[in-house]
Symmetry: C2
Subunit: 368 residues, 2 copies
């Protein structure tokens, strides 16, 4: 059977004849692959929302024919699931605050939570390189099990492949996840509205800087730890406080806060204004960013959540976030505006206004 | 929070200090990793069935309070899903009869179908090596899209990572899938019963021999093609014909028919007897096996399905299989017996009886 999509090559081959590291960086080239290759080829409404996961609608007639509603119609069961996947190739495999195993659980749990879902089940696909020490695999597996238990999800199915020495890099892990979206919850990047408030649950850029410090052999007075964490509990608290006023949830991983907010601005055709002075960054992370030449807005996070919420509910959501262990330093960092649609602006500490574009090129390879 | 599982190292480290290719081969060492490391660490009832995928039960109270049954109880919606994952690392990426893209769709569709589910949605996680020609990626993506369309599934969510040159091997693909199990269907390796009949939908070992021929540069008078195919349509026909008499479905991929039947014999605590003369193998595949020194029973398949069914329904299931394009050469190849539980025996063409053990060691690395 022939596919119905055009067979024309979708990307200017003279500009990009081969895959580069930047195609996996979460910035402009990643976006190009998704929007010009994967979405047209796999064309379907679920994929086109460009959410952190797909929202799946199941509408099922109830088998029991004795069940009817007041109008004599038989019962229909409406269920919404979220379904998401990520592969983890982080280097190094063990880092301050976590390892590839805990990260592989947190990352997919968070992608489901960002769809407003309650994460329930994970799969785990291992691609191991011949020669990986068995003891390292065991530490990673234990870490996954502990992270899954803490997040309240089960790893229910899996697969293991082994590739020859020199054809992999120790261990890559893919996790996919399934979660149930409670009735009434409707979270999507396209739902940001002018007047909405942008919040974050704490200081940004810690994960990327923790990884980079290890790689570069940097030491600071205070060790920088990854913020890697499962955010599903925090999201439940946010939804309990904000209800339908919660419009968008997003975990700013690869490409950082800047890239995530650009994606939201594009999906909702709105502008976003950030206030630099309000964006929390740990002192040691800020220092490391200066030394390494990074802008914290572009550095990856693994335990952070951007929340876009209607103004009236913002205070209640902020209070709920601060009541949660993973939201103690939550802050309002910006506003959604009707002006400059599809663009993100930052008001700097000294009062200037500058465009915050998506990440272009590769800032930190293999950060997750 | 601490995990509840023991932290003791589960595998004799002096015997297996590092991961070997055989740990990914689908034989005894693969089984050891699953049974002694993953299952104890991730302990949960879904994982312990050792099915091709996990069976997930969702029991949900219907929101509409007007709906009650004859006893005045409110409606409960019972849904069973199958959830499965596989990573694909096959080398070479393009082979006679398919490529890594079509394989990544067929493999996961088949794992869901082997749970008795109707496959609905797939995820796709790409791990690309820096330097992969963009044109190759596009051919693979098109092939996935065409395979998904032909199988009636949608690729609804995905992820792309890029690793440095020399840290991967062109492209690895993980797919996970979700399918709905129709009410009344109950398929599990543990359901094989003495007296049941073992069927296969056509000649075995073609996939493994097709891959091996390309790798070894062998040419035969008739080219050997992979049998890679989506089996969900065939499974629907089998279930329509056999109903609840269909006890087990299994696609004998890595480790071949021998390893799959050993897993079933162990799960159901039954013996299985095969009749060599009844097992279909293409002439050119048999010839290649002789040249290469392989036993077809241990060679991987990607479009084959073992069916274990109660005797009374065997004829109807066989007819239904032969009516389907992917089952034209279906055959009854053996019987489930009460004798020699957990063992598989083969009656050879010359009448001798020999034990068919699980694959031990690595026969064909990176066959899928």
């Amino acid at each position: 059977m022939l596919p119905t999509f055009s067979l024309q090559f979708p990307i200017p081959i003279s500009d990009y004849p081969t895959i580069t590291l930047a195609h996996g960086g979460g910035g402009k080239l990643s976006q190009m692959l998704v929007e010009r290759m994967f979405v047209p080829a796999f064309a379907n409404p679920e994929l086109e929302t460009l959410h952190d996961g797909a929202i799946l609608d199941f509408k099922l007639q109830i088998a029991n024919s004795k069940l009817t509603n007041a109008d004599g119609q038989s019962a229909i069961c409406n269920l919404q699931f979220a379904f998401s996947t990520d592969s983890y190739v982080i280097s190094p495999r063990f880092f301050p605050g976590g390892d590839i195993g805990s990260l592989a659980v947190h990352g997919t749990v968070n992608d489901l939570a960002m769809c407003g879902a309650r994460p329930r089940y994970l799969s785990a696909g291992f691609i191991l390189e011949e020669g990986l020490p068995m003891e390292e695999l065991w530490r990673i597996v234990q870490s996954m099990a502990a992270a899954a238990q803490a997040a309240g999800v089960r790893i229910v199915t899996g697969d293991t492949k082994v590739v020859e020495r020199g054809k992999g890099d120790g261990i890559f892990i893919n996790t996919a996840g399934v979660g149930v979206i409670p009735a009434g919850v409707q979270i999507a990047p396209g739902r940001a509205r002018p007047g909405d408030v942008v919040l974050v649950n704490g200081p940004i850029a810690s994960h990327g800087i923790a990884i980079m410090s290890v790689r570069e052999g940097l030491t600071f007075e205070t060790a920088v730890e990854s913020d890697s964490a499962a955010l599903n509990g925090l999201v439940e608290a946010i939804l309990a406080a904000g209800g339908e006023a919660v419009h968008v949830l997003r975990d700013p991983t690869r490409g950082g806060v800047a890239s995530s907010l650009n994606e939201i601005a594009a999906a909702a055709r709105v502008g976003i204004r950030l206030d630099e002075a309000r964006i929390p960054v740990l002192e040691e992370v800020r220092g490391a960013c200066e030394i390494l030449g990074f802008d914290p807005l572009y550095v990856a996070n693994e335990g952070k959540c951007l929340v876009i919420v209607a103004t009236d509910a913002a205070e209640a959501v902020l209070v709920a976030m601060r009541d949660h262990p993973l939201g103690r330093d939550a802050a309002i960092i910006g506003l959604v505006v009707a002006e400059h649609p599809r663009k993100v602006y930052l008001r700097s500490r000294i009062g200037g206004l500058r465009v915050v574009d998506m990440l272009s090129g590769e800032q930190l390879p293999r950060i997750c």
